[in-house]
């Protein structure tokens, strides 16, 4: 948790089968996740740089705070990086 990575990007993804529409994620990470008319998360598919500490922190909150454990953060390594 303590290391700030400057390179690479992440996206937050949802397992739609596990998701039951509690809506906690939209409250914990309002800048990334919105709810649709039925209360299920709509996630921006654009990758977010890992250097954006605020977004990453709230994404982690959303991941941890999901009652169904349906969210997960996926790291996208940069093509050039090792």
């Amino acid at each position: 948790m303590g290391v700030i990575r400057r390179h690479g990007q992440f996206v937050i993804r949802v397992n739609p089968i596990l998701c039951d529409g509690f809506g906690h994620c939209a409250e914990l990470a309002p800048e990334i996740i919105h709810l649709d008319e039925w209360g299920y998360p709509v996630i921006d598919p654009e990758p977010i740089p890992l250097a954006d500490v605020g977004a990453l922190t709230s994404a982690r909150y959303a991941e941890r705070g999901c009652p169904r454990q349906a969210l997960f953060i996926e790291r996208i390594p940069e093509p050039g990086a090792r």
């Binding site: 397992n15 739609p16 089968i17 649709d36 209360g39 299920y40």
Partner: protein
Amino acid sequence: MIPPRTLPRLFAGAGERPNSLTQHLDIFGGNSRVEDPYAELQGSGLLGRGGAGFPTAKKVELLRTQRGHHKFVVVNAMEGEPAAHKDFRLLSTNPHLVLEGAEVLARLIGADRIAICVARDNPTLVNHVERAVHERARQNSRGPAIDLHTPPWRYIAGEESALVNWLDGRESLPQFRRHKPSILHIGRGAALVDNAETCANVALIARYGAQWFRSLGTSGHPGSTVVSITGAVVQPTVLEVNVGTTLRAILESARADTSPQAVLLGGYGGLWVGPEMLDAPYANDALGQAGLSIGAGIVVALPRQACGLVESHRVVRWMAHESARQCGPCAFGLPAIADDLAHVIRGGRDGVSARTRLEERCASVEGRGACRHPDGVIRFVRSALAVFSADLDHHLAGAPCAGARDRQRYLAVPSLEKEEELVWE
């Protein structure tokens, strides 16, 4: 031996009854095989015939590099689409061709079990396949064991992850996969899932080679394919055609209406196309430029007197009912889309707002299910709105076409078991 450049291939020696093993060997020429079936399969460029059109050689390569002893070959003959009859016709004509193809695939990936899946709702077909499996087991006791499985019929039960999940002893529901393409497992063994028609083509390639296989079809989509034609036809027909013949020729040879209002390609998750596409070659590489594909080989001709929107609404409503209701966007979104479409058809001021709402909902639901079921429905709805746009304006103006008031319907849609279950809460 079947000479190159001739049809029928898959339906060779078709008679009243399914061909027995001895008949099968007579028709296709004994037990002769090519030396290296894997190289021939790679050279053949065979595309999967189940709907997605994924190259079979790539799939086999993915499974070949997997470790483990107890791999599976799953033959998918579930035939979820109500308008499709191709697996039924294929397995009740040349069942041994399909089984032989599955054996070839099993040898290629090193599988020791073959599971052939047929919906239990078609007892005739189950009977034919059972007989063929027993016949094969009597003739040669070596080789991979073939088991017949009969899952209950549902639209989504034929989805590969649902099928594999059912074979693994759980419910037949689609599963979420983080990465695609992923390898499905039954127990600890990796499973290769292929459509029955794909298996039959693999058997032909293993007998006669890639050169022979490529003598029909186009360069990007070789071989022959089986098409089920329903709608404005004298009787529902299953034909084997050369890939690349025009749609008009296919409709002609099925004795269908050759000047239909529109044609549905690729089944109920497919797309409507207008009459201007009738002269396009029926092949994935040519149709792909227009964003189309042949899907699971379904062609539905819609006659001039029918209302395309009403027919689409019936299909969408049924597809919404067939959702597994696992994912929220699909369970709630598809019934909502079906309702919006009903409002659009009813027309008036409600209809105009329903149309914008429909487009918004299509955009919001797309790509948010674990399987491709909602995406298929949305593609279908969008193409219906585009192809029947003139008719749509009449509906919105409050003057629906004559076809909407008529009671005659042309698309085969199973009746809903419980109408009230559609809006699921």
